[in-house]
Amino acid sequence: MKRPRPPSLFGLLKPYRGWIVLLIVMTVGASALGLAVPRILASAIDTFTGQTGDLETLILALAAITVVAFIIGNLQVLVQTVASERVARDLRTRLAGAISQQTYATVDALTPASLLTNLTSDVDAIKTFVSQAVASLISSVFLIFGAAALLLWLNWRLALAVLLVLPLIGGTFYVVLGRVRKLFGQIQGMVDALNKVLNENIVGAALVRLLDAQQHEYRKFLVVSEKSRAISMQILRQFAAMIPIITFLTNIAILTILTLGGHFVITHQMSLGEFTAFNSYLTILIFPIIIIGFMSTAIGQAQASYFRISRVLNAPPPAARGEQAGALTGAIEVRDVTLTHGTAKTLDHVSFTIGAASRTAIIGPTAAGKTQLVYLMTGLLAPTSGEILYDGRPITDYARSSLHAQIGFVFQDSALFNLTLRENIAFNATVDEARLALAIETAELTDFIAALPQGLDTVVSERGASLSGGQKQRVMLARALAIAPHILFLDDFTARVDNATEAKILANVKANYPGLTLISITQKIAPVEDYDQIILLMEGEVLAAGTHAELVRTCPEYVQILQSQQSTDHYEAA
């Protein structure tokens, strides 16, 4: 199967035309001045021996050129650094832009590990290409054509003999670069894999230590590390041969000139002067070829990386959303929703309605699809079939920002940022002090925060490692409440909070956020007995929906759950 042609790196550079031209001018200027120095030196000696001119002036000219070359050399460094860093920065910005437009599901599927590589290592490869390869590549190509024309003009027969090696060299490049392109792609894939193993080893650090599984983890890492080395060795073997072969081919060209040109001189078809000139121009031809050879690693790497980045940049944008805004009442309808993962059905034709300003509980065994259902209802995931309607309109009609501004979501797993408590709770930008204070009070966090030496400015460590389970849950609740939501989703919020606190918090929510539509996934029936509706989800299907009294009457599975809880009340529940 043939892979699609990778997108052109030079296409990426189009917006930087000005910089690139400047860079080429600087590069050419610096090397031209570098070449001028020996010439002037030679003419200075001629002047001295011939007693024909002013030696001092020449030495001064030499000094002047040296200084100019120094300045241009520094400017070249400046331009090359700024240009390459700009390309890198802008590419990162574009990537971040593309990622941020994507849905949660797409980002999850692209995998954070791979996106991290895209934003760091892949962008770096392109940066190296710009800073080290672009200018010399372009000027080398010009030099090759120029030198070739010069040679043809000097002596076309000899030139043709020499230029015969050019297709050979081009062929070598083509073959090697073709081979390594795939390898470079693979090695970046290994970086993804290393990222992943490392990240799991860091996030799962406690478990690894408890089970004394360091060796096991190390073996996992070693497999990837070893694979990465093996691919890298394959790349090395390709390139290690390439540069010597290209040098060798150019040497063959020199040898050709020596024998053939020597023959011409001996047979008086060419003068010795012409021959010497031809020889020195040949150096001008060879030099850029070798340069391109040295740049080929950077080229191959950048190509592979840009190919990977393009996949993210060109990922199809999420389906268009409507522009519907305005206040939601909280009336929600889930209409015949199915969600499949591969062949497994997570949710199977789920339908129910939720009234505005009502309270609904979703209960069901582990792996019934409760969390997935709530992800669908909040628009984090899209159903495979079926519809979610808010106030009678499909969720896709609403502008995402309008929807998320009114829907609060307390996640089941701790998802906190390495920011201060204030920044974590007022995570949404629209939160003001009054809302923040109300949210903190509602989540019963006032005392906890007051007891901290730095209060709200205490920094939460990554993954919330510095907070207890219950504290994390309550911080996440405060974060959801701080946006003053019309609709609040709680995913197993009460699992780590004791009953007394839970009851207090729920009473607070009722008092402080009147008119709120509440949808709560929970394991415990007692606190939700008086809810307007309880939905029992089992194996992806709605088994029953109704009030507590109705379910007790009609649903044996519900009764079974209820019975399992008769003796499992929480602290102070009785």
Binding site: L41, F48, T66, A69, G73, N74, Q76, T81, S84, T93, I99, S100, Y104, V107, D108, T111, P112, L116, L119, T120, S121, I202, G204, A205, R209, L210, L211, D212, Q214, F221, E226, R229, L236, F239, P244, F248, I254, L255, L258, G262, I266, L272, G364, T366, A367, T371, H404, Q412, A415, L416, N418, N428, S466, G469, Q471, R496, D498, T501, S567, T568
Partner: protein, 586 residues
């Protein structure tokens, strides 16, 4: 214990070339033969590249000038041999040095990973995942690049510089000194600015680490970003880090770039000096024009390879900056070392705390002078307000942390006297936040147990059945083979807790700690799990942190954890009273 890695460039000069060599020497020891062969090859290639032009000049002067085509062909043959030797030696050099660099990268990465594995969890609470990943993946590669591409230039060019330098001084010492003055100046300037170059490179790497940290955090919390309308947060935070990285990288790029123009300047300055001085000497009759012309060629032969070294030198500064960051991790030692001869204590108890105090870095004491004794075969419940120290107590029992003062005894010995492997056998701990590794449910159940991993699916199922655990596999769409992807939400939290439960119980530890282990599992399943716990061997000690009343009611003893103390409650009611009063006062 402070495990925070520095994220700001250290003051002063930092690592010297010598100490860098000392750090890398053990890593390179196994590459000795590769490096030695590469050095020989680089000398051969250098010689061949000098010989080629000399031969051509000779051909022109002799064969072509005399019209002797036969001689020309003989020289051409010789030249061809030289070219083939150059081909072989430069190929060998690249392969050998490339191999050495890649092996070094491989070893350095593995070493880093091993070091990370040996550090206690406190380390991970203090350092960001993205930055650590950047150190393992990106910084090590900078070191590899230096070795694979730059190190041999040192040898090759050093060889040429040395030869040309000796010629310069022996041919005419006065001119020689004039020619070498710029080189000496360059040496001084290089020494003076190298620390700055390294520092800016270090800042560049650090800003990349910070960027990586931000990206990694934002991407793993992407659902929060989407649900809270904060795509702009991701963008802003990213743009800020990106912009910082941009500035730091420009500074690094410019500082690394100064060497090349500077060295070029030195070369030109040397030529001018020699020319001016030489002309004066000729005027005084101390020099001939022929010698001066030849001399100028040697000046070029001296400064051209020196210019090549400029590029190598900046690459070295980058590698040294990277090495610093790598070495910071390698240099960390865990404070949770095994202390085989720690005094024994608390005979008879399975687990005991003796005057244990503990605090997290910068925080107040979570536990203060706490003592407790857990007996074999009993069930203990820990209750208390959230944040009161229940989880911390449990972590001390499993030696995820060491107490600040006091001692923890396991089975009559100081817990620090056990090896991690022994501890893993004795202690089972179901963490509050279950974590599964990518793989399958089966991989996670058998995780870290070679004997279990070797079982067939049937054998493993049989084992699960024997412990009454097999039915729980129905909760997974494909049973043991259900795929797990750690970064993604493929399994629910309840399912993860179930796997963690199976994993811990199947090992039949002597003490089983359950930290809200079933909080997200439905109550019907939970009852089944409790039955499993009841069927555990009679000698198993259980420590349960839970909110559900019955588990607490069934406990032999209830401990109230809060306010820095651990108090044994006489009864269920007593525990509840303490909980209520703690709430009122907190």
């Amino acid at each position: 214990m402070d495990y925070k890695l520095s994220t700001a460039a250290p003051a002063g000069k930092g690592r010297t070339l010598l100490s860098a060599a000392r750090t890398l020497a053990p890593l390179l020891r196994e590459e000795r033969s590769n490096i030695a062969i590469a050095v020989v090859c680089v000398i051969i290639s250098s010689a061949a590249s000098l010989l080629g032009p000399a031969l051509i000049a000779r051909v022109i002067d002799t064969a072509i000038a005399r019209g002797d085509y036969g001689l020309l062909l003989r020289y051409a043959g010789l030249l061809a041999v030289v070219y083939v030797i150059a081909l072989g030696s430069s190929y060998t050099q690249t392969i050998r040095m490339g191999t050495a660099g890649r092996n070094l990268l491989f070893r350095l990465r593995n070493q880093l990973f091993t070091r990370l594995s040996n550090l206690p969890i406190a380390f991970f609470a203090q350092n960001r995942a993205g930055d650590l990943i950047s150190r393992v993946n990106s910084d090590t590669d900078k070191i590899n690049q230096f070795f694979a591409q730059a190190l041999m230039q040192f040898f090759g060019n050093g060889f040429l510089i040395l030869g040309a330098g000796i010629l310069l001084l022996t041919l005419n010492w006065r001119l020689g000194i004039a020619a070498l003055i710029p080189a000496l100046a360059i040496l001084g300037i290089t020494r003076a600015i190298s620390p700055w170059v390294k520092r800016t490179n270090r800042k560049g790497l650090e800003s990349l680490g910070a960027l990586s940290g931000d990206i990694s955090e934002s991407l793993s919390n992407f659902k929060v970003i989407v649900a809270f309308n904060r795509v702009d947060y991701f963008r802003e935070k990213f743009d800020l880090a990106n912009q910082r990285n941009y500035r730091a990288s420009i500074a690094a790029g410019i500082s690394s770039g100064v060497f090349m123009p500077l060295y070029t300047l030195a070369g030109a300055a040397a030529s001018i000096l020699v020319l001016a001085y030489g002309v004066k000497l000729i005027g005084g009759g101390a020099l001939t024009i022929g010698v001066l012309i030849g001399y100028l060629l040697y000046v070029t032969a001296f400064y051209n390879p020196l210019r090549q070294l400029a590029a190598v030198w900046s690459s070295l500064q980058m590698a040294m900056a990277a090495l610093d960051r790598v070495h910071e991790v390698l240099g960390l030692e865990t404070d949770l070392v095994a202390v085989p001869d720690a005094p024994a204590g608390a005979p008879g108890a399975l687990l005991a705390f003796d005057g244990v105090s503990f605090n997290y870095p910068g925080g107040k004491n979570v536990l203060e002078n706490v003592s407790l004794i857990l007996e074999r075969g009993k069930t203990y419940a820990l209750v208390g307000p959230t944040g009161g120290g229940k989880t911390t107590t449990a972590m001390l029992m499993a030696r995820l942390y060491d107490p600040g003062s006091g001692a923890v005894y396991l089975d009559g010995r100081d817990i620090r006297a056990f090896t991690p492997a022994e501890r893993a056998v004795k202690i089972g701990f179901i963490l509050q936040e279950p974590f599964l590794f990518s793989g399958t449910v089966r991989d996670n159940i058998a995780y870290g147990q070679a004997d279990m991993a070797a079982l067939t699916d049937e054998e493993l199922t049989k084992r699960l059945k024997a412990s009454g655990l097999a039915d729980f596999l129905d909760r997974f769409s494909e049973g043991l083979a259900t795929p797990v992807n750690a970064g993604q939400d493929t399994l629910s939290l309840g399912q993860k807790q179930l796997v963690a439960f199976l994993r811990a119980v199947l090992r039949q530890p002597e003490i089983l700690i359950l930290d809200e282990a079933t909080a997200n599992i439905d109550t019907v399943t939970e009852q089944l799990l409790e039955e499993v716990l009841d069927r555990l061997p009679k000698a198993t000690t259980k420590v349960i942190i839970a909110h559900r009343l019955n588990t607490i009611r069934n406990a032999d003893s209830i401990f109230f954890v809060g306010g820095g103390a651990l108090t044994e409650a006489g009864s269920m009611q007593h525990a509840m009273d303490m909980l209520l009063s703690a709430k009122r006062t907190s």
